[in-house]
Symmetry: C2
Subunit: 154 residues, 2 copies
């Protein structure tokens, strides 16, 4: 997988969480995902296509992390992953992918975005049906972890 | 949402399960999804784009249904949702969407498919971030239920 595709998502994730949710998200070393080990409680998934590549993005939050982010973004307090929190994950997925799309556009990749799908359920795992590599990037926030997974086939 | 987009997925789902897994899947009345009520244990999700529309498909299986289908497809016995079963869900997602893509192509819609993402975790729910409608179609098999959800924006 072209590593050029990964950085825009890291930049955009940190940017969206900082500007929209006043939450600093520090990423640690990206790794190649070889199993379904990264688990979370709510996930946003979106497909992307351009003439040169097709791919998908999954962003998985622990409950603690997304409740903090939701509360910071909306100024409301949610104590569990309810419909509003799930909708917020869809909105974050849209914003992160749109930000990455803008960066990738400057590099000559004109991606089209599909419709985000959200998954809610304690301790679920995510995997991707691809012959290519899956890059997983862990992010830490003051309230907990999230994981951004990106895969592309060219 | 253009109802022309829904039927190809119903036809393709029944066709793939019948030919690949010797499993009859009968669908009941499609309904507009207004909440996250349809729950399952393993899900395949894929994004789709064409020049006229963008969308996503989610196919959610109960554990009993997917174990039966897996065993029928592979001639192997899995007693729980392991990595091989999750991979099989990705393969089924690819096959159903490819079948639907072929039908839609005849109607003048040249969809490109993103990379399938799979979710495993007991009793998770699926929702979609769209201003359009989400159509959910329940299917019954001899071993249990599955749900096909389709949404498109034009």
């Amino acid at each position: 997988m072209n590593v050029e595709f990964v950085n825009p998502f890291l930049i955009s994730t940190a940017n969206v969480l900082s500007t929209m949710a006043k939450t600093e998200a520090k990423f640690s070393k990206p790794f190649l995902k070889t199993d379904r080990s990264a688990k979370g409680d709510v996930t946003g998934i979106i497909g992307m296509n351009c003439s040169q590549a097709r791919g998908s993005l999954a962003i998985t939050f622990t409950e603690a992390a997304i409740l903090h982010i939701y509360n910071q973004m909306l100024g409301e307090t949610a104590k569990e992953v309810n419909d509003d929190v799930v909708d917020c994950v869809g909105e974050i997925t849209n914003m992160i992918t749109s930000g990455a799309k803008a960066i990738l556009s400057e590099k000559g990749y004109q991606f089209e975005l599909a419709i985000p799908t959200m998954v809610a359920g304690n301790n679920h795992s995510i995997s991707h049906k691809t012959k290519g590599s899956v890059i997983c990037v862990p992010f830490d926030t003051i309230a907990g972890s999230l994981f951004v997974e990106v895969c592309f086939e060219e």
